[in-house]
Amino acid sequence: MTDTILSVKDLQIDFKTFAGPVHAIRDVSFDLKRGETLAIVGESGSGKSVTVRSIMGLLANNSKIVTGEIMYNGADILKKTKRQLNAMRGNDVAMIFQDPMTSLDPTMPIGKQVAEPLLLHTKISKKKALAEAVRVLKLVGIQDAEERLKDYPHQFSGGQRQRIVIAIAIINHPQILLADEPTTALDVTIQAQIIHLLKEIQQKIDTSIIFITHDLGVVAGIADRVAVMYAGKIIEYGTVDEIFYNAQHPYTWGLLEAMPTLETDTDRLYAIPGTPPDLLDPPKGDAFAPRNPFAMQIDLEQQPPFFQVSPTHAAATWLLYPGAPKVELPPEIKRRREIWNSKYATKEA
């Protein structure tokens, strides 16, 4: 595949702790295509953030890459030296952080902060870099950028600060943007604006985005493809439609059921019972099995392989095993299947 820009293969990352190694990422593989937006969805501790930080080479000191490779532009990011990583960060690959209230330096004017990546990676005068900062700030929606270059972060609102963080990330036109829950700390109206902004920018500077979130509702608005992570593994991936309307893994079902929609007619929101497993000692079988109402004996004993549903869609659940019994789908998932069937009826027939 020539249009693949980033390829993560068999990634395994441990964190050393006093209690022993925590297996935070367990055998994660995925590709990112040029110009697409891939959403990685999962609950806290599922390994989403660790995955993108490993792409940036920004893992904590106590982390250990056990196996795997992250191929970008023909080179393995995991094998890069510090110097090579610095040359890549903020230039080829840039990151947008979760909390705009704390991710800007409180003692530096924002103009300087936005211009910094440009000054680091290109030979350009300070004056030109600041002029470019103004241009990018306007692009992300800070209209009075010229007058505000000397202002400090605390003089901006949360939404504006996230726009500034985005400006910092895109000033060098990176090929890959890693967005680590960029809307989680914002209120809902601002969330929508920021997502809209990201899509607009993606078209303008032609970049690929990995968008991390725990909120499936946000995914629909931005992503082309979705990968669902649970307990350090990707358990299902597919296009947005495939994940939203033809999900196969019971965990994805749980996430979809937990998401309120206009059609939700009960006044109780669904929550997946139980808690995620302890990754100090991950379970032998499917990590989701103890919380899975559809679990079978084999789920507890053996990890399910990926079963291909379509060329773009696969799920790691024994329910897709040819001999597995048919299960009665939860009502919400059934409703979604019906939409799927009506949408793609001709295709499947």
Partner: protein, 308 residues
């Protein structure tokens, strides 16, 4: 900003007035009189008391003294006949100020550096060495360092004069001895603060821009870690500039520390008063400078100050 500073100077003058008044009355509570040598006949004591105005009622003495201060006249020393307090202090303050400023610069700069290195290399041997160094600097009194430095560098190795006040080279050893405590203090504060700052989100963002470890520290971490350091620097500076009696004694430096103690043991009221007021002036000015520095380092404080 100007309005703010003027307001602060007003408070400063009020503080000085109160300090002068309180010291004046406290001193009158000291046991004995300046001329209580039993060998001096009573008649002569009376003459001396009259000469220095000590026979006047207390309120009269107070008014005279305060009026004198306003005119820049701090009176004459009781101990050294005919020498004004201003003269006594001005001849003695020089060496103390010089040593204080030197020790302050050496101590805080090295302390900031040491603390920063310890934080960057947290939980390595570098950090351990820096911590041990800070504990030693904090717990061993400066006159012990003074004696050790004197013994090794001056007596054994003959690199510096042993105990003398003559030019810059003679000021190096006392400066080092005096700098130990502020160095250790600053290093400890700096390490704690820097560890916090290095874990903050904006440092991660700075790294994600492609900055090297060194650039991250120099451009972002240093300045943000310095904010609390400024607080402890103020009082430390005043302490140092007013001299350390023991260190000055060890190196035979004609400084102000010795003068202060001597004037107390001899009930030399005008000198005690003069030094106390000098101390207060320096402390209040340093606190003002610290507050202004805060604003320069931390823009959040600067702007909220302007708003008021």
């Amino acid at each position: 900003m100007v309005k703010y500073i003027l307001k602060r100077i007003g408070f400063l003058l009020l503080t000085l007035f109160l300090v002068a008044s309180i010291t004046f009355f406290l001193m009158k509570l000291l046991p004995g009189t300046p001329f209580n040598n039993p060998k001096i006949p009573a008649a002569q004591q009376a003459i001396l008391a009259k000469q220095y105005g000590l026979d006047l009622p207390l309120w009269q003495q107070y008014v005279n003294y305060m009026v004198g201060i306003v005119h820049g006249n701090f009176g004459e020393s009781y101990q050294f006949a005919g020498q004004t307090v201003s003269y006594l202090i001005s001849t003695r303050i020089g060496p103390s100020l010089q040593l204080g400023v030197q020790a302050m610069i050496v101590g805080t700069l090295l302390g900031i550096l040491l603390g920063a290195i310890a934080a960057i290399r947290k939980n390595t041997w570098v950090d351990a060495v820096a911590t041990i160094f800070a504990i030693i600097g904090r717990s061993i009194p400066n006159f012990v360092f003074a004696a050790l430095l004197q013994f090794w560098l001056a007596y054994k190795m003959n690199l510096f004069p042993i105990a003398l006040w003559d030019g810059f080279s003679s000021s190096i050893l006392p400066t080092l001895a005096l700098a130990m405590a502020p160095l250790a203090n600053t290093a400890r504060f700096m390490r704690t603060e820097m560890v916090d700052v290095l874990n903050s989100d904006y440092i991660e963002l700075a790294k994600s821009k492609g900055e090297s470890q060194w650039q991250v520290v120099a451009k972002h971490a240093m300045r943000n870690s310095m904010i609390p350091i400024v607080t402890i620097i103020g009082p430390m500076a005043v302490d140092l500039m007013l001299g350390s009696l023991v260190v000055e004694n060890v190196f035979a430096i004609p400084g102000i520390g010795q003068q202060f103690v001597q004037s107390i043991t001899t009930n030399d009221y005008p000198v005690i008063m003069g030094l106390t007021i000098l101390y207060s002036v320096m402390l209040t000015v340093v606190i003002l400078v610290v507050d202004v520095l805060y604003g320069i380092i931390d823009p959040r404080i600067r702007l909220s100050g302007e708003g008021n």
